[in-house]
């Protein structure tokens, strides 16, 4: 079994401090956008 390579200088490893992995953070940002678009659509349909 080989150990994972050490982080490069200036990099604090490849794991973000929250969320567990970068993929989770990326998905969170996209989900936030989808949620906002849905909310704006509902707002526009409710008040027109």
């Amino acid at each position: 079994m080989t150990a994972s390579p050490p982080p490069r200088p200036g990099e604090e490893g490849d794991r973000p401090p929250v969320g567990g992995s970068w993929a989770v953070l990326y998905a969170g940002v996209i989900a936030n956008l989808v949620l906002l678009v849905v909310l704006f659509s509902v707002l526009a349909r409710t008040f027109r």
Binding site: R8, G10, E12, I30, A44
Partner: protein, 570 residues
């Protein structure tokens, strides 16, 4: 403006300038001047990125945009979160690991000096002009406050920003952006509260939102696909994605901000936070504009929001026609106010038929109101050929000055000036660093000391400041500033982004192919702008895809040796 407002404005700005200059007084090397010595944590990167994009234009022009056209402009930002994700995966690690000072430095390592010079040159042209618009926005405020010509106030604001940036550089921008964002966000939040308190006591928040809705101001999302429609879901998502990818991925004013993060992780987190917060922040600012519109259903609005032009018309040879147009405007305002009253009464009574009739009456009165305002705008154009007659940039400013309480007026104006200083100084720093790193140091004096380059950077800051102030003199002809600055960027961003995408992903393409492709694509985008009515957001898509396609074709046609691959192993 009252003395207390002047004190709040002057006190806030003095604190920011003195604090920024004092904190950065010992800057001696180029890395520290350009990238703040790669020292910032993620939250400072995020603030820095957001404050750089949020210029005074954002706070002056955006509420006016919502007052006129509703919340549809928020769609412009839908592509931004996706771009933040893509850049976090691609550009951030590449730039960090190659330890570049500017984004264009990477292009020479990947292609050749000529391609680096072309991309840097395109950036310098568009950002140099756009900085003029950034400086023009707060000058409009001062012009109204002091009743001085906008050309004089532009020179004054330009001088202030030049001194502040040339003495502090990137670090001064970064260390004060926390204070500046606090002033900006608290100013806008308090403005919204104060605006809602201006509504009549018997009108609730939900009724105010309903009035905005029936007046067509809450149309935040439009899913129809139309290339000539500036803001719909598709142009925002696709065109906005390419624009944001280009702005944040290749524009040194932003690349310099997130490369100042102390690691890849910190830069990534800063960009992702921007991806989370940007759309809600813009929505809030647009919503402020929609609520200003609602307040003006109960408080009589001026026929033209630029007080300087109103006074010129009232005292000039066109005063009889102006008085007639004002009368028409007043009648439309009265008619709409009565219709709004009937609409609210029908809602409270639960009478759908009366509500529908009042809704139709509001829309009919709105059409007459728009036509009366267009008539006044035409008179402004006639009396002052240097103006385009529009007053969108003045709506929020005039509203704040005439309706908000003492103290808050000073704070909101401080927010406008803070935003101007943070974005204009970041832009000037980027222009200076690109000029020195990609021009002077590369082609004129490659082996001077760091102290020499810092000194030249300061001189370049002054030079670009002068160029920006000169261009700002023409800004009154360009209409809504928030649109003008993005149209200007979109003319060049697609091509620059295309060059970078080829660099990142098309390993077989060399410098000659991408250089030729970029020249042809830029010409095509300029033709598209001059000869068609295609919405500007699509220029980013067209320019980028053309560069990629043509570069691949030219590479195959020429059979040129492959480009250099630089990406370090993951």
């Amino acid at each position: 403006m009252k003395t207390a407002d002047w004190l709040v404005l002057a006190g806030t700005l003095t604190f920011i300038v003195v604090y920024g200059t004092w904190k950065t007084r010992r800057q001696r090397n180029l890395d520290s001047f350009v990238l703040a010595g790669h020292s910032l944590p993620w939250w400072m990167v995020a603030l820095s990125v957001m404050a750089t994009q949020a210029s005074a234009i954002t706070f002056l022009s955006t509420p006016g945009q919502a007052f006129k056209d509703g919340l549809g402009f928020v769609q412009f930002y839908f592509g931004l979160p996706l771009a933040m994700v893509v850049l976090s995966i691609t550009a951030v690690p590449i730039y960090h690991r190659l330890k570049v000072l500017t984004a264009y430095e990477y292009l020479e390592r990947r292609f050749d000096a000529r391609t680096r010079a072309l991309a840097a040159g395109l950036f310098l042209v568009q950002r140099g002009l756009a900085t003029g618009l950034t400086i023009y926005a707060p000058s409009v405020v001062l012009s109204v406050l002091l009743d001085w010509p906008v050309s004089v106030t532009t020179a004054g604001v330009g001088l202030l920003v030049i001194v502040y940036t040339a003495t502090g550089g990137s670090r001064a921008v970064s260390v004060t952006q926390l204070q500046q964002m606090l002033v900006i966000l608290s100013g806008m939040g308090l403005a919204l509260v104060a605006i809602l308190r201006l509504l009549p006591h018997d009108v609730s928040f939900s009724e105010a939102v309903a009035v905005a809705g029936v007046s067509g101001k809450l149309n935040a999302v439009d899913f129809s696909f139309d290339l000539s429609n500036r803001y719909n879901f598709w142009s925002g998502l696709i065109g906005g994605f390419f624009l944001a990818l280009s702005y944040f991925g290749t524009d040194q004013s932003q690349v310099g901000r997130y490369l100042s993060g102390r690691s890849i992780t910190q830069s990534r987190l800063g960009l992702l936070f921007n991806g989370l917060a940007k759309v809600p922040m813009q929505f809030l600012i647009l919503f402020v504009g929609a609520m200003v519109f609602v307040v003006y259903q109960f408080v009589p609005p001026p026929a033209h929001f630029n007080p300087v032009e109103s006074r010129r018309l009232a005292a000039g040879p066109l005063r009889a026609e102006y008085a007639e147009a004002e009368g028409e405007h007043r009648a439309a305002v009265d008619e709409r106010r009565a219709a709004v009253g009937r609409y609210l009464a029908a809602r409270r009574d639960g009478s759908p038929a009366a509500e529908g009739a009042a809704r139709d009456a509001i829309r009919a009165a709105g059409t007459r109101y728009d036509s009366a305002r267009e008539r006044v705008s035409a008179l402004v154009r006639k009396s002052n050929p240097l103006s385009d007659g529009r007053d969108t940039n003045y709506v929020f400013l005039r509203f704040v000055l005439e309706n908000l309480p003492t103290g808050l007026v000073g704070l909101i104006l401080a927010a406008v000036f803070s935003a101007a200083m943070s974005s204009a100084s970041a832009e000037l720093t980027a222009l200076a660093s690109t000029t020195v790193v990609d021009g002077y140091k590369r082609f004129v004096r490659p082996d001077a000391t760091d102290a020499h380059y810092v000194a030249v950077s300061r001189r370049a800051t002054v030079l670009w400041g002068v160029v920006a102030v000169a261009f700002a003199q023409f800004a009154s002809k360009l209409g809504t500033l928030v649109e003008a600055v993005n149209v200007l960027g979109s003319l060049f961003y697609g091509t620059i982004l295309g060059i970078f995408l080829v660099a990142f992903y098309a390993k077989s393409v060399g410098g000659r192919a991408v250089f030729g492709a970029a020249l042809i694509s830029e010409a095509a985008v300029l033709l598209l702008f001059a000869c068609t009515k295609v919405s500007f957001l699509w220029f980013n898509v067209v320019g980028c895809l053309l560069v990629v396609a043509l570069a691949l074709l030219l590479q195959v046609a020429r059979g040129e040796a492959a480009g250099r691959s630089l990406e370090p192993a993951a």
